[in-house]
């Protein structure tokens, strides 16, 4: 167990952890480091999946593993390995990537700045002027479309197929959830991602 230099990947010298200044690493680089008790904790070990018996339901992604919980969004049965607990509910990796991650702020890893993108589309050719002015007839309508498309989605009546997965909860029958076309789930998720 040691702490390694970020430049040369060799163990840092003990003097680097002293409070009174810098020390020279083996690679010749000056370095000052601070270590914390988490260095002794190591990497947490995940849960194992249980083997499935003949009469038990199997995980959707791992047929040999026993299903433990259904996904709260799509209803697929999940084993311990596939289960992602989010705020009291269970979620599969696909739903986590496509929906849950963008609706739960603390899991979001990226945000597309739609307003900046629209502004860039609309004003970019104007700013660059001489060379790209001919793109304005293409980019300006595209920017307008991108601005008004979310409003159009919001105004559309909500049916079973356009409702956001988070509103639906567990549908009860995983087979019906799997039969749902995936492309119809996206409309309201886009709104949530923009908020």
């Amino acid at each position: 167990m040691s702490i390694y230099c970020a430049r040369c990947a060799l163990p840092l010298p003990p003097k680097a952890f002293q409070d009174n200044g810098f020390s020279r690493c083996v690679c010749g680089d000056l370095v000052h480091a601070w270590a914390f008790p988490a260095v002794f904790r190591g990497v947490a070990v995940g849960r194992n999946a249980n083997a499935r018996l003949e009469s038990e339901a199997s995980c959707f992604y791992h047929p040999m593993s026993r299903a433990e919980v259904p996904c709260a969004r799509c209803g697929r049965l999940l084993c311990n390995v596939c289960d992602i607990p989010i705020g009291g509910e269970h979620c599969c990796a696909v739903c986590f990537e496509t929906g849950a991650k963008s609706t739960v702020a603390k899991y979001a890893t990226e945000l597309v700045l739609q307003d900046s993108l629209n502004l860039l589309l609309a004003a970019g050719p104007l700013v660059l002027g001489l060379f790209l002015w001919w793109m304005i007839p293409i980019t300006a309508p595209l920017a307008l479309y991108r601005v008004f498309r979310p409003l159009q989605c919001a105004a559309r009546p909500r049916t079973a197929n356009t409702r956001a997965p988070r509103d639906r909860g567990y549908p009860g029958n995983p087979a019906t959830a799997l039969a749902r076309p995936a492309h119809r789930l996206g409309c309201d998720e886009g709104h949530d991602a923009n908020k």
Binding site: D29, A33, T109
Partner: protein, 164 residues
Amino acid sequence: MYERLPGRGITMKGKSFLYVSDQHLLLLQENLVRQTYRRFAYSDIVSFQLHPNQRQRVALFGFGSVLVLFGVLIAVTPIEFKVVFAVLLALALVGFVMEILRGPRCRVWLSTAVGECELPSLGRVRLAERVLGRLISRVESAQGHLNPDQLRQLWPGRVGVQAP
């Protein structure tokens, strides 16, 4: 609630900022159309490393070369060009002085049990030490302090090494 820490880094991926909350440190990287977030829980941070480098000298050399170049151009060019070169020289002089005032440059890495991440917004030694002071107090309030006996265990194979 997040509080933004001082410092701004500019990398190939865009601008970079640091924010602190009660539970974690947030590294935000943004370009023109996209923001990317990385969160580091205080309880997961293993170490910080601060590596001073020579980039300030390189920058000073660059600014100095530009100053000399414009000085020569002011001396040899006709009067109508002198004003233009004087303005450019003044700008280079401001950059030179700012570079000196902001102090030596550095690179800072944060490491967890599963990997390392550079913190580009901490690009100056003075700024980095100030910000790391705040971060270290938060990490130690979450994890506790590493005592010398524990620190000595980081070098078990080295005979005669005195732990700090």
